[in-house]
């Protein structure tokens, strides 16, 4: 394959695919690399197979299939099963189907997407406890959550994905014994004044209402005002316990699926020290970008939900705009042509952002979400508890990287992806300050584990391994 190209796109979700298509359309030579084996990202996972297609509603299915078809026809080079672990301006280090490689490009668009906000609670490492997103992937792979498809499932949390998952579970005939709602009503009420704007995007609103109606029809017992959720069991989830109005309750369950919203994946830009801002309602960091996704580093762009979570169709529009902006950056199209090509997606995106403004409040995470008991394992990799984080603060640490040094929280193979947000929230609470004041984990490259063999091969290739 060609190791030097005009534009390198990282990620084959809605944003990355749209970026590749629009950049190709402008005449750029494009290579797209992605961790998964097939294009589509998480939203359009396995969209080229009947299994992936049937998981989506008709409108999304058509949209995803058309996007992947356009990508396949675009002439962009495609490297699936490729994990990138290093990125500097103009250059990416990755492992391409097991073989280390360096790829060079005049411009790079990063589109790593979003992930579920990891929220620790006692027992969350027990088999049987999963993220709602993970469970949805499992269902979309044709599998079942438990050996006994009728075994009781408990849903817990707050967020649009939980609604979608509940619909999928009901379709699959799974017995949902409870939906433990952890949402914050004072935040949700703030969504009300913004609701009328939703009429600007009736199709989207309709989709949400449809999902909600399906869940209502499924008669899932909805338990509001829940806190202090715990998973209990010996080597496997057996019971879920929770608190409501000061009283503790117990439920028998084979599976517990927790979802507390979606946050941008920021590791790559973090490792490059790009400035990030804190969203105090959605409680996540997002990178500072211009309207086309350009970062403060020349020739480096970011597209999609990794910039701010607006959803899959918005990501596609952001991707198109970044592709055009990359072409403009490389001088392949004029300023006027770039403005012309971006006009339609920009307008659509603007409408979307206004019409969905209420979602930011409706699905805001509860500010007390991270008030977990001391014994809660926050860092799953290094087995560091909330108590150990609080102890580090009591001993004088006031910044998350100090706490990390003292406790090992965030030093495991996931590199703080699963514990970073909780580490910051717990540290901030223990310091009686805001999350903005305790910093965020400094991410260093390689931002994915890479074997020493692969790393050394790349830097000192053996004669017969010269690319």
């Amino acid at each position: 394959m060609n190791r030097r190209t005009d534009l390198l796109v990282i990620g084959a979700g809605p944003a990355g695919l749209a970026a590749a298509v629009s950049a190709r359309d402008c005449g750029l030579e494009v290579t797209l690399i992605d961790e998964q084996a097939a294009p589509g990202g998480q939203l359009f996972r396995n969209i080229e197979s009947p299994l992936g297609q049937q998981a989506l509603q008709a409108r999304e299915r058509a949209q995803g299939m058309e996007l992947v078809r356009a990508f396949r026809a675009s002439g962009a080079a495609y490297c699936p099963k490729t994990t990138i672990w290093g990125l500097e301006p103009g250059r990416v280090s990755c492992t391409l189907e097991g073989v280390p490689a360096t790829l060079e490009a005049s411009a790079i668009i990063v589109a790593p997407g979003a992930m579920e906000r990891p929220v620790p609670f006692p027992g969350w490492t027990l088999p049987g406890v999963m993220g709602a997103g993970g469970a949805d992937i499992l269902l979309r792979s044709g599998g079942t959550l438990d050996k006994d498809p009728a075994a009781p499932v408990v849903l817990a949390g707050n967020g649009p994905l939980l609604l979608l998952l509940a619909g999928h579970l009901l379709q699959a005939g799974v017995k949902i014994v409870a939906w433990l709602d952890t949402g914050c009503w004072s935040q949700r009420l703030r969504a009300l004044p913004l609701m009328p704007a939703a009429a600007l995007d009736p199709a989207y609103l309709n989709k949400g209402v449809k999902m909600a109606l399906q869940v209502l029809k499924g008669k899932i017992p909805l338990i509001r005002g829940v806190s202090d959720i715990r998973a209990l069991g010996e080597g496997q989830l057996e019971q879920v316990s929770y608190r409501k109005r000061g009283k503790r309750y117990l439920l028998g369950a084979a599976t517990l699926l927790r979802h507390e919203g979606i946050i941008p994946r920021t590791h790559i830009l973090n490792s490059l020290r790009i400035e990030h801002h804190w969203d105090r309602v959605q409680r996540y960091w997002y990178p500072l970008l211009d309207q086309d996704g350009a970062t403060s580093i020349a020739g480096l762009f970011l597209a999609g939900d990794a910039g701010y979570v607006h959803g899959g169709d918005a990501s596609q529009l952001k991707g198109s705009m970044s592709g055009v902006a990359a072409a403009r950056y490389l001088g392949v199209i004029s300023k006027e042509e770039a403005a012309d090509r971006s006009a339609a997606p920009r307008k659509q995106l603007q409408t979307m952002r206004i019409s969905r403004g209420y979602l930011r409040h409706l699905f805001a995470p509860h500010p007390q979400l991270f008030k977990v008991p001391d014994e809660t394992m926050v860092c799953r990799c290094e087995c560091v508890t909330a108590g150990e984080i609080r102890k580090a603060v009591a001993e004088g640490c006031t910044e998350v990287n100090e706490v990390k040094l003292f406790s090992r929280c965030g030093m495991g193979p996931c590199q703080g992806r699963m514990c970073g947000p909780a580490l910051a929230e717990i540290t901030a609470a223990a310091c009686s300050t805001g999350v903005e004041s305790v910093g965020s984990l400094r991410i260093r490259q390689p931002f994915r584990p890479v074997s020493l063999e692969n790393y050394c091969d790349l830097h000192h290739p053996l004669p017969d391994q010269q690319p």
């Binding site: 961790e35 197979s49 299994l51 499992l138 044709g142 599998g143 496997q236 495991g412 699963m418």
Partner: protein, 96 residues
Amino acid sequence: MSTPLTTTTVRILFEGQELEVPAGISVAAAVAGYAHPGHTCKHPVDGSGRAPFCFMGVCFECLMEINGLPDVQSCLVTVEEGMQVRRQPLPESIKL
């Protein structure tokens, strides 16, 4: 959602047990969704049993031994005919 008849399948071995699963899915989804094994890995720090959590490459809880290679993020590997998958054991050097 039931598996449609049009989906082609592949056979993999998990701990010697044969699983027939749709082609194109990840090893983590195949093992968790078809074998229901409880834990799929013994955690090297506290020795507890862990299982896939995120299924999308973030959490590193799905590490398994695939075709003899340990420490593989099984959610990022696609199932292949005849693939041998085992639970990730506790490394021998680690005493708890």
